[in-house]
């Protein structure tokens, strides 16, 4: 290992990067743009669901019932229809996601104290929505039912409303939302976006590093130079590692100042994990760069490998615990999951180094393993 030779490779690589203005600009701009666009725009809450109503009863009670959906922020009223066939068409065209059918004699039955069944038709193409929607509908029904029972008991049994209400709801549930009291998806999303930005942009920075030299032939200068394999690989990474490290700090500042996400944990632990994670993500790019022959292949494979598991298996949108066993294995084979734990832990849960050392260890193992793979793949004596 010779520091002077590493510096030489790093300087060359740095100059190449800096002279490509568009590339340099993008490598700093991209994470920031993502953070802002996704931080404000990527909303996971199921809200403003378009729905239509078929009210067969047209009574004051049925209107009262329907009104609860209309005034809710979870639903977005698209008008009423008079025929079930209209519902078919609207659902098929994705103009609505749900339809409520209130049966005839809705008011009459309820006033007589009989149960009534409402029909809801849900669009099942996005099963999670359908499921959440069911939950909303049941909650509306429950509240409405309780009022009806209270009213019914006061009217028929002569109870005072207070007593009737207690009878209508003997056991209640008090829910507390931890770590994210207002259940804002921004708070859970923004820290994870730091992971997304590092995981998706950093590998691409390095991905073309070696394969570009292979494709243009300039790699022969390296083959014939005194620089060793390890020196070359380290020197190649220095500029991209620097860029990504600057990005971590910038993203942290955006998360805390622009989005106001509380940072409760230890900055040291967070920063250490971030450095390890950058070593992992740039390592992935490097390994791909060594495996393929063309820049086109390196580009496409890196983008897909960086983006797809990051969206699906990192805990960004779906928690790892609710993946199937097979997918969980895949999630664990990928460094993004551990870093997501660290980022969310540091921001929202206020965990320190002691609570997260396993995640850090995993990241360190990945970082080292990827370096070893890269080292063994790189050869200065190519065949033919």
């Amino acid at each position: 290992m010779n520091v002077r030779r590493i510096t030489a490779v790093a300087t060359k690589e740095w100059k190449e990067t800096v002279r490509d203005r568009l590339f340099l600009l993008m490598s700093f701009l991209l994470p920031v743009v993502w953070m802002v666009v996704f931080g404000y725009g990527l909303v996971l809450d199921v809200e403003h669901v378009p729905f239509a109503v078929l009210d067969r009863d047209q009574s004051s009670l049925s209107r009262d019932y329907v009104y609860r959906f209309i005034e809710s922020r979870y639903f977005d009223y698209q008008g009423s229809v008079s025929d079930e066939r209209d519902i078919d068409r609207l659902l098929g065209d994705t103009a609505i996601r749900m339809a409520i059918v209130v049966p005839e004699r809705f008011e009459e039955q309820l006033l007589e104290g009989r149960p009534v069944t409402i029909q809801t038709l849900l669009d099942g193409t996005f099963p999670l929505h359908a499921d959440t929607l069911k939950g909303y509908v049941i909650a509306v029904n429950r509240a409405f039912t309780q009022e009806r029972i209270t009213e019914f008991l006061t009217r028929t049994r002569g109870l005072v409303p207070e007593e009737a209400r207690r009878l209508a709801e003997p056991v209640s549930l008090e829910t507390r939302y931890l770590y994210n009291q207002e259940v804002r998806s921004t708070w859970s999303m923004v820290p994870a976006l730091i992971m997304f930005a590092l995981m998706v942009a950093s590998p691409l920075l390095t991905a073309l590093g070696v394969v570009r030299e292979k494709e243009t032939g300039s790699i022969y200068n390296i083959y014939s130079a005194t620089v060793s394999k390890a020196e070359f690989l380290i020197g190649k990474l220095v500029p991209y590692f620097t860029i990504s490290t600057i990005n971590v700090v910038v993203l942290w500042v955006i998360a805390v100042w622009l989005f106001g996400v509380p940072f409760k944990g230890s900055f040291t632990a967070f920063f250490l994990a971030s450095l390890l994670f950058i070593l992992c993500s740039t390592g992935i790019g490097l390994v791909i760069s060594l495996l393929v022959r063309t820049q086109m292949a390196a580009l496409i494979i890196t983008i897909i490998i960086a983006m797809v598991p990051t969206i699906l298996f990192s805990g960004l949108l779906v928690p790892v615990s609710s993946l199937s066993p097979g997918a969980q294995v895949q999630a664990h084979l990928f460094p993004a999951m551990y870093y997501t734990d660290v980022v969310r832990g540091s921001f929202l849960k206020g965990l320190d180094l002691k609570a997260m050392w396993t995640d850090l260890l995993a990241l360190a193992v990945f970082a080292v393993a990827l370096r070893l793979v890269a080292y063994s793949l790189f050869t200065k004596r190519p065949k033919a």
């Binding site: 590339f23 991209l30 669009d123 507390r176 998706v200 292949a297 993946l323």
Partner: protein, 390 residues
């Protein structure tokens, strides 16, 4: 006249022949890139399977710990109602603090806390409440867990009401209860593998349709081979069109592979609409996305730049067009911005054809939007490409 017809016919033949030769060249070039080809195969087969089978966004076995301060018949009855597939009972804790520690570590998601004298309170008809602590670091899942818990406790509570009133009155248990019969359309069992596998295919089509032609064009610029092409009798239109054609063919083949090997046999996705229409639409979508990619390629000078631009354009498309998250809930500026994303229309088209079985009579507007976007992008790319070399 006749001679004129002859020459123009000959010109058309020559034009098509040149386009064909160029398309063939692109296919050959792609075919020789073994790592890339292998990766393409993987992306449209195994990878579709893994994401289809592996991802369940619906609440599934949320880990539940219980602090039972009562240990009575009623508390056991209530705990018993928290069961799979929504909740997985992960043990009892002796003290709420211990439960909170488990939430901190992330080894449990929900803590149910039943107060002492729970049974007694129910017996003496006093109102009583149980506590639920939910980890909402992942907001949608946390909310979903809370909603299910509310459903369970609510049902427990209303059963109690009914039994009390039933016992009190003459045995008839009629109450003005409003209940819902849910009918889930297009996917009755809410089988998530359908949604996830179809989404994944759309994701892959988008990535490849953007990147393959874009990288192929920039490569020619980078290596200087594009100069050779431009001094040949081939027009810029043929150069660009041949790349789009070749890559669209590859993508259609890959999509067919995914449908034949994974979607139908493994997940049993019912293909309700017309398969021909679906492939036609996929071709249109590939063309549109390729137009975006080619435009980026005319801006970029090397493949690294094109990669960065792809990330800039594709990641918002993938995350905000409605295959990862509900589109309606997005802020209105995102919805406006996403009018420019062809994927936003392709999502409606794909689910429409594959799951809902609708045809062009409902999808024509999405088709028109894709065609307009694609035509515009392709035209702009053409214009820039010509300008660069004239």
């Amino acid at each position: 006249m006749n001679r004129n017809d002859g020459t123009s016919l000959e010109a058309v033949r020559l034009w098509t022949l040149r386009l064909f030769v160029m398309t063939r060249k692109e296919l050959l070039q792609l075919g020789r890139d073994a790592p890339l080809l292998l990766f393409l195969l993987y992306s449209f087969s195994l990878s579709v399977y893994v994401s289809g089978a592996g991802i369940a966004m619906q609440l599934n076995n949320a880990s539940l710990v219980v602090h039972d301060g009562d240990h009575s018949e009623s508390s056991r009855e209530l705990i018993h109602r928290f069961h799979e597939p929504y909740f997985r009972f992960d043990g009892e804790v002796r003290d709420p603090k211990e439960g909170m520690a488990r939430l901190d570590q992330g080894t449990a998601m929900v803590l149910l806390d039943i107060p002492p004298r729970f049974h007694e309170a129910i017996g003496s008809r006093e109102p009583v409440s149980v506590q639920l602590q939910v980890d909402t670091t992942n907001a949608p899942q946390g909310l979903s867990a809370a909603a299910y818990a509310a459903r369970i406790v609510g049902r427990f509570s209303s059963d109690l009401t009914l039994s009390r009133l039933g016992a009190a009155s003459d045995g008839t248990m009629l109450m003005p209860v409003v209940d819902s019969a849910h009918r889930v359309w297009f996917n009755q069992d809410q089988d998530e593998t359908w949604f996830q596998s179809i989404s994944h295919i759309m994701r892959m089509i988008t990535l490849f349709a953007f990147l393959l032609p874009a990288a192929a064009l920039v490569r020619e610029k980078e290596h200087g081979t594009v100069e050779q092409l431009l001094v040949s009798p081939i027009t810029p239109l043929q150069i660009m069109l041949s790349k789009v054609l070749a890559m669209t063919l590859v993508i259609l083949a890959a999509t067919a592979l995914a449908m034949v090997t994974v979607l139908k046999p493994v997940f049993g996705v019912p293909i309700k609409g017309s398969v021909a229409l679906f492939f036609l639409m996929t071709a249109l979508y590939s063309f549109t996305t390729a137009g975006l990619g080619l435009f980026a390629a005319t801006v970029a000078r090397n493949q690294a730049q094109v990669g960065m631009m792809a990330l800039l354009v594709i990641s918002p498309m993938l995350l905000l067009s409605g295959i990862a998250t509900p589109f309606e809930a997005m802020p209105s500026w995102v919805q406006t911005l996403m009018a420019l994303s062809p994927l936003r229309y392709f999502v409606d088209v794909t689910y429409g054809i594959l799951l809902k079985g609708v045809g062009l009579e409902l999808l024509w507007d999405s088709m028109l939007a894709m065609a307009l976007l694609g035509g515009t992008m392709f035209g702009l790319g053409m214009w820039r490409f010509r300008r660069q070399f004239r």
